[in-house]
Point group: none
Chain length 193, copies 4
């Protein structure tokens, strides 16, 4: 007994071309100026192929995000045992990256896609925001397991707080100052020297 599979199968080549083109155009144009027609042209694909499989601009971006063709350029914090030091290093690295205009533009484009998406919003949230949160959460969690009782709140909650503060800064292109970073660290990792 086999699953019926009639007609020409979906072209993996086209699928990848669309996602790659989308990623490229998000960087170049942002989300608002991204057009289905532009994606189709850049991917060398018919518009119908996009509408057949994704149905909307948001849909394509969601999948490009989910499959990692388009990535919030954020890594996970290191784990040297020193939680505050690790977070500080991570935030300072971020500070540098975010000041680069192309990164900032991409992040804004992604956030724009996120808020515009409406119902698919939570899907995108999971594929984009979650990874950042996860990286932070893992770091906080590792600390919590090594030094139980030291954290002032559950690891996930702290991760969320740091992530939220961070994203809002990035969204509105406000600079990440060293003072701000230290205040944030004081709040979430209070006892540290």
């Amino acid at each position: 007994m086999s699953v019926e599979q009639r007609g020409r199968p979906r072209s993996e080549k086209s699928r990848v071309a669309v996602l790659e083109a989308t990623a490229g155009l998000m960087v170049d144009c942002g989300y608002e100026d991204l057009t289905i027609e532009g994606i189709a042209a850049a991917a060398g694909v018919g518009k119908q192929t996009i509408y057949r499989w994704w149905g909307s601009k948001a849909g394509v971006v969601v999948e490009a995000l989910a499959e990692g063709y388009l990535q919030m350029p954020l890594t996970a914090p290191a784990d040297s045992g020193d939680l505050r030091g690790d977070l500080r290093g991570w935030l300072l690295e971020l500070k540098g990256e975010i000041e680069a205009p192309e990164v900032s533009r991409l992040v804004q484009a992604i956030m724009s896609a996120l808020t515009s998406a409406g119902e698919t919003s939570s899907a995108i949230h999971e594929s984009l925001i979650q990874p950042i949160m996860d990286g932070l959460d893992a770091r906080f969690g590792a600390h919590d397991r090594a030094h139980p009782g030291q954290l002032t709140a559950p690891p996930q909650f702290l991760a969320e707080t740091v992530g939220a503060s961070l994203l809002l800064h990035v969204m509105f292109a406000r600079p990440l100052t060293v003072e701000w970073i230290d205040q944030l660290l004081d709040l979430v990792v209070p006892g540290s020297p």
Copy 2:
């Protein structure tokens, strides 16, 4: 010596009609589906009048926000002397409001306008996000002046942290749970009973 003022003066009636129409359409359609043509039609105004005075969709929305035709339905926290209690009450009230779908839709529309706006972003930021921050900031500041040294961080920073966490929840339509509220309070007003 007076400034020359020749020709027909700007029509206040049209100005108001545009801003009111914009506010109404933001609620009904969201930001992406808002069109200049739609605003003009709804306001009974020529398109040129809009382009003459505002120049872009974002511009109209900015002014509608700034003039309060379109409001993030957020009030300032009360000040009963009990900081934690006041914030808790404020957050619980918010929780109720945000769960109403029309409020949630409006907030998303506004956030969408914010992120999409690009260069005007900071202008909008100031007219929308700032008020929320200001309300919180004032409450934290009042406490700080009454009980210096009790807060773990500068009032403005705490306001920002709470605001950021809050907005991200609203943006992605995640429910505000009571547990989450209490964790947040533990973080920013640690010593409170």
Copy 3:
């Protein structure tokens, strides 16, 4: 010794289904709105089958005409010995038929196919116009053989003249009046009582 006949033979069922579907759609939609995809769907046939055997919309219509699935609803004139009377009867019968809207629509669809076809035009012409001309020609010819020297022009030429006048009236949906018929008869069969 026989011609090699390898692989699955052409499906007569599909061939007939296509031609029948084409005939039906010509009546319903006319020639311009007739589509290969529509024919394929209506016939329950793959598009490729049509392209394999006919290659174009015009091709299918030609064959449908040639095989009589789609017929200019015109019969040949009777032959009672009285040429003028026979032609008159035939034209009056036509008059009745042509006033029916579905007949008129079909005739227009066919004429549209004819003029649009371009190079294949003469092929279609032969399969459609010729039969009408042939019917007339036969009738004129029979008279000419029975009464040599009575006709004012060669039978084929007279047939052509009558046919042309007729078709132009049908093409532009002008009514066939009795006066017009009699004038035409006076012209081509002058001596008749």
Copy 4:
């Protein structure tokens, strides 16, 4: 008391550009391959402008015909007093013209437009076929007034007959032979030397 005239008035320049472009493209491409998009591009005009004022391909062609931007390249027969001679000269001239491929193509394109147009058919008929008929009719009529009782049928009817025979030949790209011309003349101007 004045007729209201609100908004920007229709651009005569655009109207003419569209009709001229249409005429040019009809010659180059024929009717079937004529596209609204092509006309708009060639005329340097937005598609919407065409849809606003004409609504369909057929509509534009009708007006181009009616306004003479696109003309069946047929002149009226001369009037030297010799009806048969004049008609013969006219038909021979036609024969020459029609054999030119670009003329033949244009005529086919126009006929194609005519038959495809459906309901507007009679409008087109009047603006295209009628002029030819009128030219012939005038010539027959002049003769009839000069020599009453010589013609075998009313002038208009004779004009129609000649016109119909002619058009059908042109439609199907059949050559106009001298023999055919003389037979036709024998039929409609029988008594002539």
